[in-house]
């Protein structure tokens, strides 16, 4: 221990523990402090510890202009990050590699990586907005069916990121046959796609939403022909699909993740209540399955019509207001806090040009070319 009043030299171990608690932006700035620090910031253990600390911070809600390009083709697409104080924390322009001028969407977000897809060409990329790394995902070869990439997740057990793609048969020019005919899974560690068995998802209908927690991806599948909505989950380690029925009294509108569990929320039919379920994973003899464990019923303000997504502790709802003749709308976002069970006005968006893909995002140092997080 140092004695006296002079400032002590800290052990490198203590310095590391401080640096792990810095925001990503500061860390990137401090890589030029010295060689030791620059090397430290690239190590797997530091990146993982840093991610563990920032997991407690509230995530951002990303918004992006929707199909803007028909009017302004050279306008580079951007991403707006909102924080919980209702401020725009940052506007990120997409790297030139992601010049998605014809519209794009965020398929999923985990550990600070975004899985993004271009509408027109179907180009699929992983993007770390903070480090500005972009990695193009190879296309699935020999696939002539209609492809719908629909899931991105991570498992800390196998330390790998995976994507799931469902393919549908295109029957004719008018539309798709909604039966899934092929399922592929991509693994970042092998950088390749492979075809999967898909027992549980055969004959399931339209995929509505996707979200992932550590180890599992999930989708809500909307039934037609009087079949019920189901929650389909995919185990990232074993690559097995499971299907769980959703209570039929409610029309599910949102699937989200809350405290590393799946959460379903939906409008109660013909009333102004929102029902919220927490989905618990249960281990049984026949493997893992899921069940609805907790349920809240919340009265919604009469003017709120739409549940957008779950963002940290908040359920983001949307109220639509007509501001003039024709197609001019204004959107007001309202937040319902799952901890305090209170409503809060959040933000108004003046046009329908901004689009929220319903994902939460928190920055990380995770590298796309050496992506293990332990």
């Amino acid at each position: 221990m140092a004695r006296g009043g002079e400032r002590p030299f800290l052990h490198f171990e203590i310095i590391i523990n401080i640096l792990e608690r810095l925001p990503v932006k500061s860390i990137l700035r401090f890589r030029s402090v010295c060689k030791d620090w620059n090397n430290l910031f690239k190590t797997q253990s530091f990146i993982a510890e840093h991610a563990r600390h920032s997991a407690h911070e509230s995530p951002f809600l990303p918004f992006h202009p929707y199909n803007y390009s028909y009017k302004r083709p050279y306008n580079r697409p951007s991403l707006r990050l909102l924080n919980q104080q209702m401020e725009t924390a940052e506007v990120l322009s997409l790297p030139w590699k992601l010049s998605f001028n014809n519209g794009w969407r965020i398929i999923g977000s985990c550990n600070g990586l975004l899985c993004v897809q271009d509408f027109r060409f179907g180009l699929l990329c992983l993007w770390n907005p903070v480090t500005r790394e972009v990695r193009e995902i190879p296309p699935i070869t020999n696939n002539h069916r209609c492809l719908f990439i629909s899931g991105f997740g991570f498992s800390s057990i196998v330390n790998d990121y995976k994507m799931v793609a469902f393919s549908y048969l295109q029957k004719n020019m008018e539309g798709l046959n909604y039966d899934v005919c092929l399922v592929h899974v991509y693994s970042l560690s092998t950088d390749s796609w492979k075809e999967l068995e898909f027992g549980a998802v055969r004959k399931k209908e339209i995929i509505k939403e996707t979200v992932s927690v550590d180890g599992t991806m999930a989708w809500t599948w909307i039934g037609y022909d009087n079949s019920f909505d189901v929650l389909v989950t995919f185990d990232i380690v074993t690559e097995v699909f499971t299907s769980t029925p959703i209570p039929s009294a409610v029309r599910v509108t949102t699937l989200g993740a809350y405290q590393n569990k799946f959460v379903l929320s939906g409008h109660h039919r013909e009333s102004h209540f929102m029902d919220i379920w927490v989905i618990e994973q249960v281990a049984s003899d026949s493997g893992k399955h899921f069940s609805c464990s907790e349920k809240y019923r919340v009265e919604m303000p009469w003017y709120v019509s739409n549940i957008l997504c779950i963002w940290g502790n908040e359920i983001v709802c949307c109220e639509k207001e007509r501001t003039g003749l024709g197609d001019k709308w204004k959107f007001h976002l309202k937040l319902f806090n799952l901890t305090t069970k209170k409503w809060k006005d959040f933000l108004s968006i003046s046009s329908s040009h901004e689009c929220c893909d319903g994902v939460s995002y928190g920055g990380s140092l995770v590298s796309l070319f050496n992506p293990q997080v332990q």
Binding site: R3, G4, R7, P8, I14, R21, S26, S32, V33
Partner: protein, 162 residues
């Protein structure tokens, strides 16, 4: 240890005597070990030395006394909220002056709560600093050669060495 003991006396590295209650001392593993040691039995008058200077030890003991009731019995959410506010006030100190000493003391005394708090406080103070301010605080020399600096600037446009 005798059950009649309610407070123990320790010496700082500067040789000053400090009293710390038994329940507060339990927040630190090494202090806890000392408690179980013969040193504090009634017939022993040897005072153990804690290798922390007086100025720092005052703060560490203040933290222990404040956190001991909650650590020993558990507390309600409102208590936790109050304690959080107290922590923020407690940590309003100059990095150069005492925070680094607190960090080292918390590390040496195995006090997880105080160590976390001090690390986070240091990180919050550092996050807006420039590269040269950081080097000054941690006594770090810029050891990049001019070629290496050029390379880092090419890889990361906008990267500053000052």
């Amino acid at each position: 240890m005798s059950s009649s003991v309610e407070a123990i006396t320790v010496l700082s590295s500067d040789g000053d005597e400090f009293k710390i209650t038994v329940s507060a001392a339990k927040l630190s593993k090494p202090l806890n070990w000392m408690l179980e040691d013969v040193c504090f039995s009634d017939d022993c008058d040897e005072v153990p030395t804690i290798e922390v200077n007086s100025k720092t030890l005052v703060k560490v003991i203040e933290y222990c006394e404040k956190h001991a009731p909650r650590a020993n019995s558990g507390a309600s959410d409102s208590d936790a909220e109050e304690l959080k506010k107290w922590d923020i006030e407690f940590m309003k100190m100059d990095v150069k002056d005492i925070l680094f000493h607190i960090l080292m003391a918390a590390n040496y005394l195995h006090m997880e709560g105080l160590y976390d708090l001090a690390c986070q406080t240091a990180a919050d103070l550092m996050k807006g600093m420039t590269v040269s301010q950081i080097r000054k605080i941690f006594h770090i020399k810029n050891d990049f050669s001019s070629e290496e600096q050029e390379q880092l600037r090419r890889q990361h446009p906008g990267c500053s060495f000052d």
